[in-house]
Amino acid sequence: MSSPSKAPDWLQSTLRKPTLASDEFRELEPTDHMPGDIVVVVPIGGANACGRLLVVVNVDNDHFHGMLVIAEAELATSADAVLVPESTGLGYEIAVLTHYHGPLWTVQVQHRVGAIEKSALEQLERLMWNDEPDGLSLRRGQPLQPEGIDPRYPTLRSLSLEFDQLTDHYRRRCHDLELPTLDANLGKIDVLEDLISRRGWERRITLVSMTTEFRDRFLDSLPQLSPDQQRAAQLIGEQMHNLHPPTTFTEVEPEEDLVNFDLMVDSFLQEVG
């Protein structure tokens, strides 16, 4: 590549116009995040992924809730807002897709590039949950028509997948996705003995929630295990202390035949593996 030199004549006059982008909010790898910030984020593990813009809706220690921002205003629907550069500090118009929102880790933020006023954020939040709120001053896009008619569907769907990739890591690590519930019958002595003899069960047991029914059965079975088995099963006891009992779970019929417990253990290991 050649080194930078003078721009051609036709470009000179345009280059004299000032950019609309403001440096006021710009910061590389910011440590503090505020609602209304516009940030560039990347997926966890996405070393080569192109950055994506988000509006920060709210912040909580190591994570935040964000809404997807794009630079193609024509994709905005009537549930999305189109914001001009003067209201964001960015050098370009953006569309905030209010139905594309979710949680991310703050470490996913590469840099902050702009910010919006609190009143604008409040309106965006109203659009998140209500397609037809009253009293909005934000400009919005064209209503989305049914699939097969509106040509924006394929692009919006692909943006949805991209957004899922951004939030996927947080969702998997946190309670946003329901953890599988441990079958209460796994607490019975014969099933429990089989379970703790399988390789890798210790790691997987940390990825499930436990019901009070399982706890009762486990505590009944624990004294019946050998000392070595009891030491191994202690991990389950610790996990029980770490979890709050869920409010709902699938009941297992008490009279259910447990002859096929091998299958049950396999199924559990597959589910959480």
């Binding site: 590549m1 050649s2 930078p4 030199s5 003078k6 721009a7 051609p8 036709w10 470009l11 345009t14 280059l15 116009k17 950019t19 609309l20 982008a21 560039v40 990347v42 080569n48 992924a49 192109c50 950055g51 994506r52 813009l53 630079a71 193609e72 024509e74 994709l75 009537s78 550069p85 960015l90 050098g91 370009y92 118009e93 590469q110 840099h111 590039v113 397609d131 037809e132 896009g141 064209q142 209503p143 028509q145 049914p146 097969g148 008619i149 040509p151 924006r152 394929p154 692009t155």
Partner: protein, 320 residues
Amino acid sequence: MSDQELDLLVAEAASQRIGVLWLDELRTACIEVTRRFDPAVYAVAERVWSVGEIDELMQDVTVEQLLDQGQLDYILDVSRSIDDVRRLLRFRVRRELARRRRRTVVDRLLARLTDVLGGDPYEQVPESAPARYRPVGTEVGIDSPAEEGLRRAAAAVRLLPTSQASGERASPVFQSDVLAQVAAQCFRATNSSLSIDDFGRILREALTSWLPEFLELDEGRDWPAEQAGTDIELEDIVSSLMAQVSEEDQIVLLAKLSGVSDTELASELDVSRPTAAKRKIEAFDKLRELMASEAGDIEFSQTSQIAQLLYLRLSQAVDK
């Protein structure tokens, strides 16, 4: 190394915004993208992608997209590798080609609309300069329409059937009967007199919302060939659908397809909002059932043509 190339572009942008490095990248993007686009339609003066035409396109992308629209800043904000920069530049080139196409199409439509507005059932508002038009028998004055009215008009006309983009330069996108509906829908949605400039704004916004279809063309696909006229089979299907959709459902479907909110629909039907929402769901469910029985064996690509044609027939029916 890719990152070094990105670093050089970032440094050039910091010192002079756009210089020879960016122009080199842009020229390459223009050459790559234009291979898939017919110069007879998308070039400015020549019928081939000559060096001069590529230069002209490069200048348009630079001035319109990268600088005036600030997309250079966007590219710099989100790119993490030279590949990101190149992909986004190619996207901008496609977008500029779409803009050229839209501009040509809108100019052509406005010329034809002037003829439509010059005869029945429209008249020029007295003492309006530049000329403003209104349907004969209405009392609207020379006031310009509200922004919301223009937006609603764009939503109302964007579903009217268009002929497919063609290899013929500046071919009309609306056939004559559809163009008459474009005028009718615009007056209805704005409830105001309209100038040619107003129609220009409405059409630009309506056609902008179709840009994604154009931009979705990947580099391995060519622009689809023109489809000649409306398929008679599709006309039959739509006639059959119209015969089976009740009058009230026709009103509901037309309103929702033209972008009317549930609240506005409720007001039009003089019912509560939940009732309007329920009727909307029922009307679309009925339409889906009818579509499945009448057009179940139709190709997926034709369903949007059916929907557009149905929308035209609904507009015409409600006019009567």
